[in-house]
Symmetry: D2
């Protein structure tokens, strides 16, 4: 499946850095991120947090294990209607079966606009 046709592609998320402890991504607000009132849709934050943490955990645990998102709590703090939105994910916990990440979103002025806790389940990969 071509990446540009996936949700990440359609929403234009740019993963800038993936790592086992920290990861970064960004997007510039366009209509495809907006809800009808013109502000960024809450689902855009939730989705980007999910992508960032899934990809970072996956890269760290594969090929022995797989990583699957288990829950995503996004708290909305400040409406954003334009400009870049930056996401920084920090890993809070690396357990045998569970990883927990905290993702902070900031607007162009550096103000916190949303924050997400993502819990990833880590499971053994099925054999070939």
């Amino acid at each position: 499946m071509p990446l540009e046709r996936t949700l990440d592609g359609v929403l234009g998320f740019e993963l800038l850095e993936t790592g086992e402890e920290e990861a970064r991504a960004t997007f510039t607000v366009g209509d495809q991120h907006r809800q009808p009132m013109g502000i960024v849709h809450g689902g855009a934050y939730a989705a980007l947090a999910e992508s960032l943490c899934s990809m970072s955990t996956h890269l760290a645990v594969s090929p022995d294990s797989i990583a699957v998102a288990q829950s995503n709590l996004t708290t909305f703090l400040r409406p954003v209607s334009e400009g870049p939105v930056d996401a920084v994910a920090r890993r809070k916990h690396r357990g045998r079966t569970t990883w927990v990440w905290e993702v902070d979103f900031t607007d162009e002025q550096g103000r916190l606009c949303a924050t997400t806790r993502v819990t990833m389940a880590v499971r053994p990969a099925r054999g070939p």
Copy 2:
């Protein structure tokens, strides 16, 4: 802003019914809902739950008040890779400043695949 250019339009969400106590929506899985492994991206569930609860609360409280999403906890229970996904939102609480909804997502076989708790803040509308 044309609705088809918003996140809801781009992701092809269909709101079937909005109400003060229950609301329904659906989408048929396409590439724009998928993450790179081919299953529905967790952000798609979070986004649809948000749209459904925001719209339903907004219609119930406007024009005297406005409704703003405050938090969204989505728990992922079963991967879905194709077919229709149906969402049913039930309002659990209608307070003066807070509404709480529970949204269940089911796949074509009627199996629960995700569930979201959405908290909406209700605030007085600013005067004209």
Copy 3:
């Protein structure tokens, strides 16, 4: 360890019914459930939800597996200062590694005062 000295004992929780799909408990508000303003402490709801879901899941999966609470989201809807508080837990999902419960708390008038989503991890029991 004598049960009356545990947290459940100290807080006087009564588990009325445990089951794989539904469970019930109750407590009558006393000072040990209150915060300094005289209303029920949010931690009392979170704790009772945890006890109810842990015990119910444990009874269903042991001795082959063990059940460990993974997360607890409690949303507070209405302050309660006296009388009985009833809790009803309904299982929303029974997966191989995860169970999800929803617990509703009602006051003496039957009004919803808090609601908790508990996620339980189910893991193989270690051998003897």
Copy 4:
């Protein structure tokens, strides 16, 4: 109501520092914090997070406003069965109507054992 009879008193929580941006508390594990298997009950973490954030927010906004807990998401990362448990709360957001705190719990070895996101609602105090 004498403080030692409240939930905080019964569970022996010690609030070491309350502040608008950071707060600290601790408890030494005793039977009153345990569930039947002998480890710290998840409700103990949820309760202490709630106390710490409620008190800190209350002290910052009163007497003009009051602070009421709205939601508490506690994620359990590592079982603890004895020793001191330390809690550090950091305020992530201070809005007009909402404050958000993140509380990390560590065991005697400094390992993260639970983490809580507390959302506080801030409302105008009623006049005399």
